[in-house]
Symmetry: C2
């Protein structure tokens, strides 16, 4: 994370030798604000249709299972569960539920991937209007559900979210209220960034390195890979002689759409090259 | 699944129009035994290092989170969790835990993928011998953990498995005792079958179709894709004019290693072509 993101930094781990885990920047950089944790959470939830669900068994024990979902406009996941399956019976017995949703196409190290836990109460869609909305939202996200959504043993369950915990990877995390989660929106750039990230890393490693060195606060960076893109800027994963470090660089203006990404990264590259070689 | 696998078939869903979900085979085939559910479960657990963990919050609610793990020889997952993280605090408060582990490189439809839920109690590795074993097992599976496994806020937790629920995809599922799970072993062919499956589907669709028609009980199959491989045989996903159906065909002898897979599928193809055209 960038220096400006201290609010998101995890408490220090109990480091045995007293050394900091991440080398600090060597140059001051301008402010590089990121998405709010609520936006990060909404983006993760909007980007896929698979979650792991935690429910309570009859004796109050935890039970983990795989589910698919769509999401309402307020980010509430809509699941379609059979009463013949343990998770369906569990929710019928106790509506408390939690889901964890993981970044799609994330980094090879699973704990470097972003993920979000939503916790709250699952409510069975009952009245006709809610049922119709829930059915449409679920089917839009999970087309295969058309083959079982109308089976009599299946119900649509809406997870009303009370509490959110977002983890953006190592050392980036925050808690979000249900209200803030519902009020936020998915980031229009981050939600489909995987292809652009792969392209930058495959074809523009040199530009990323100059951006990291000239604008990211790490003039000693030796390699830089793009780890994230959103409407406000670019996240980089750096190697330096002092160890690995993350950096973030803001775009000159917030984007409103993925189609603006190419121009924005070209502008960053020009700005970085000009800063690196002002003559 | 094949006709012989009725023990694994789910109870019928409450189908609204009374039609069966899957067209039955049109020809009798020989017995095509599959892996036991315990073997399927052990194979899924051995094939990756990422799980979703369900724990209990202080007020007894469910909490879903992402974890990495290695597994002991009896299949017990070993997780490395921080007490600064909610799941670590949860386990310290109540050791009941469950993980769900999902097939790697599974089909596009998430609910067609295999997954397994393990439930039991998490035990903090405490004595020196257990701690050393747990550390070695975790690091072998999660090399990145070397950067934090010795932080003082991290503990190694062993999930002692009491109960297992395996779901192989639509309509294939079974429960397994903790004892049967511990006594089984991962399948040496299925654990690394993704590349072979992709190869069969890309380059040998014609052979798969003949196998399905001549040996799989579906002479009316119009397309066949390989959905699974294990030491005992091949799973196929078929389209027929009567709808989609799964089929399973046994190898002539059980394999002991992935290196035997090529010869076994060639033999199946020859056998199928001979049966289809006996002249």
């Amino acid at each position: 994370m960038a220096m400006t993101e201290t609010a998101r930094t995890a408490p220090d781990h109990g480091v045995v030798d007293g050394a900091p885990s991440v080398p600090p920047p060597l140059a001051l950089t301008g402010s590089a604000p990121g998405l709010s944790a609520a936006e990060e959470a909404r983006t993760l939830v909007a980007a896929t249709n698979v979650a792991a669900l935690a429910t309570l068994t009859a004796d109050g024990g935890p039970w983990a299972s795989l589910v698919t979902y769509g999401a309402f406009d307020d980010g509430a996941p809509v699941m379609c569960l059979s009463q013949l399956a343990e998770h369906g019976r569990n929710l019928a017995g106790d509506p408390r539920a939690s889901v964890v949703i993981t970044q799609v196409d994330g980094p090879a190290d699973p704990l470097a991937a972003a993920r979000v836990t939503l916790a709250g109460r699952a409510e069975r869609a009952a009245d006709a209007a809610t049922l119709a909305d829930a059915r449409a939202v679920h089917l839009a996200s999970v087309p295969a559900a058309s083959s079982y959504v109308d089976f009599s043993d299946f119900s649509l369950w809406i997870l009303r979210v009370d509490r959110v915990r977002w983890v953006g990877g190592y050392g980036r995390m925050d808690s979000v209220s249900g209200k803030a989660y519902a009020a936020a929106a998915p980031d229009p750039v981050a939600i489909n960034a995987a292809t652009a990230i792969a392209h930058l890393n495959e074809d523009h490693a040199d530009a990323l390195l100059v951006i990291a060195q000239a604008l990211g606060g790490y003039p000693d960076a030796t390699t830089a890979t793009c780890s994230g893109l959103d409407r406000l800027g670019i996240d980089l994963a750096l190697r330096t002689p002092r160890g690995r470090a993350p950096a973030r660089v803001a775009f000159s203006a917030a984007l409103t759409d993925s189609s603006q990404l190419r121009a924005a990264t070209v502008e960053l590259t020009h700005r970085a090259r000009a800063a690196a070689d002002p003559l």
